[in-house]
């Protein structure tokens, strides 16, 4: 991001409902999305980027 200091962590706080957390919990239970909600969020974000922004950083994710 333009103007960002490279040694400053780029942290975003995401406000979620208990119902959204419930969905993250399901992914956490799978084990391959991370062990903390923050990791699960980032994993999903990156998979979105791959699937919808045309990136190729990650392998395909099958439908559950």
């Amino acid at each position: 991001m333009g103007g960002r200091m490279s040694d400053t962590p780029d942290v975003v706080s995401v406000h979620l409902t208990q119902q959204q957390i419930e969905l993250l919990e399901r992914l956490k239970q799978r084990g391959d999305f991370g062990t903390e909600y923050s990791e699960v969020l980032l994993t999903c974000f990156r998979k979105y980027a791959e699937q919808f922004l045309g990136k190729g950083r990650f392998g395909n994710v099958g439908s559950a």
Binding site: S13, C44, F45, A64
Partner: protein
């Protein structure tokens, strides 16, 4: 037909403009046929054993505003029942789940008619045989109704494309009171090519194959906790007075209320940041947080949604 039905147990013609309420039992199939061609058909549907459980065109629209072969006739929440399945439907049968049933006021206001055939009154007269009132009619599942809609929801009527002999088969997934009628607007609106024609109705008895198909559907889609029955309601009785009065002792029990929230912090890499900026350039999100929420739950829905007649069917199929 792709699956064998039982024997025909009923076969009659609905002359213009009339209708008929008729029981169709689980596993049976209702066939609606273009006797001449080019006739719009309106359809209502009730649970035969509980008239308060009836078809919800609004919820059927989750399948698309033009349902096709393989889609379902669904009842309204809190029941959310599987009522019928469109077992057969030719592509020449254009359906419409947006247009409301025509009514006497429409023809009076638009054309100055003191009396004109209309679907509200035809439905009401048809269901009266079962003790139901004009207020028990509901939005129609419209068949052979070739409408066009723009993004603002304004509509136009196009030529009816149903040829003689075209038919729609509705397989009953539960016992229903089916109400097919000849739409009464088509002589002046053009929805039936400026003429009113008969339709033929047939009912096929169940077969081993249709019974098996019904069981398959109910096993797969009839087991949701969200499909509730009156014994689960806080207020179980059907109100018998028309006047509304407040119950001062009533306390609503909203779902998951008060809702709890949690803030989760995520640390983005430089590549994540570039992706988030790309997303923000493509999607109208408010800020970084909104963008991440959008991405996460858009991705979740696209990849973890079970195909189900009660779920929204989007353009992407998720």
């Amino acid at each position: 037909m792709t699956i064998p039905y039982g024997e025909i147990r009923d076969d009659f013609v609905l002359e213009p403009v009339s209708g008929k309420a008729l029981p169709v039992y689980e596993g049976e199939t209702l066939r609606i046929i273009q006797e001449v061609g080019g006739q719009c058909v309106d359809f209502n549907c009730f649970n035969l054993h509980d008239y308060k459980d009836y078809m919800s065109v609004g919820h059927m629209r989750r399948q698309g505003i033009r349902v096709v072969k393989g889609d379902y006739v669904l009842s309204a929440p809190p029941r959310s029942g599987l009522m019928m399945r469109i077992a057969e439907m030719a592509e020449t049968c254009v359906t419409d789940l947006i247009g409301s049933r025509c009514s006497a006021d429409l023809f009076e206001a638009t054309w100055g008619f003191d009396s004109h055939t209309n679907c509200q009154d035809t439905l009401a007269e048809s269901i009266g045989e079962y003790g139901l009132s004009p207020e028990d009619t509901h939005d129609s599942f419209n068949m052979w109704m070739n409408t066009g809609w723009d993004d603002r929801g304004r509509w136009d009527i196009r030529r009816n494309t149903g040829p003689k002999g075209d038919y729609v088969d509705l397989l009953a997934l539960t016992d229903v009171l089916a109400v097919p009628i000849v739409c009464g607007s088509g002589d002046v609106t053009g929805i039936s090519n400026f003429s009113l024609k008969p339709i033929r109705i047939q009912v096929y008895e169940k077969s081993a194959e249709t019974e098996s198909l019904v069981k398959e559907h109910l096993d797969r889609f009839g087991q949701l906790k969200g499909q509730r029955s009156p014994d689960q309601y806080r207020i179980k009785d059907i109100k018998v007075t028309r006047e509304l009065t407040r119950d001062p002792a009533y306390e609503p029990q909203f779902v998951n209320y008060p809702l709890r929230f949690e803030d989760i912090e995520v640390e983005l890499t430089e590549e994540d940041r570039r992706d988030l900026e790309r997303l923000k350039a493509q999607v109208r999100v408010e800020n970084d947080e909104d963008g991440i929420r959008y991405a996460v739950f858009t991705w979740y829905k696209a990849n973890f949604s079970e195909p189900n007649p009660f779920a929204n069917k989007s353009v992407r199929g998720d």
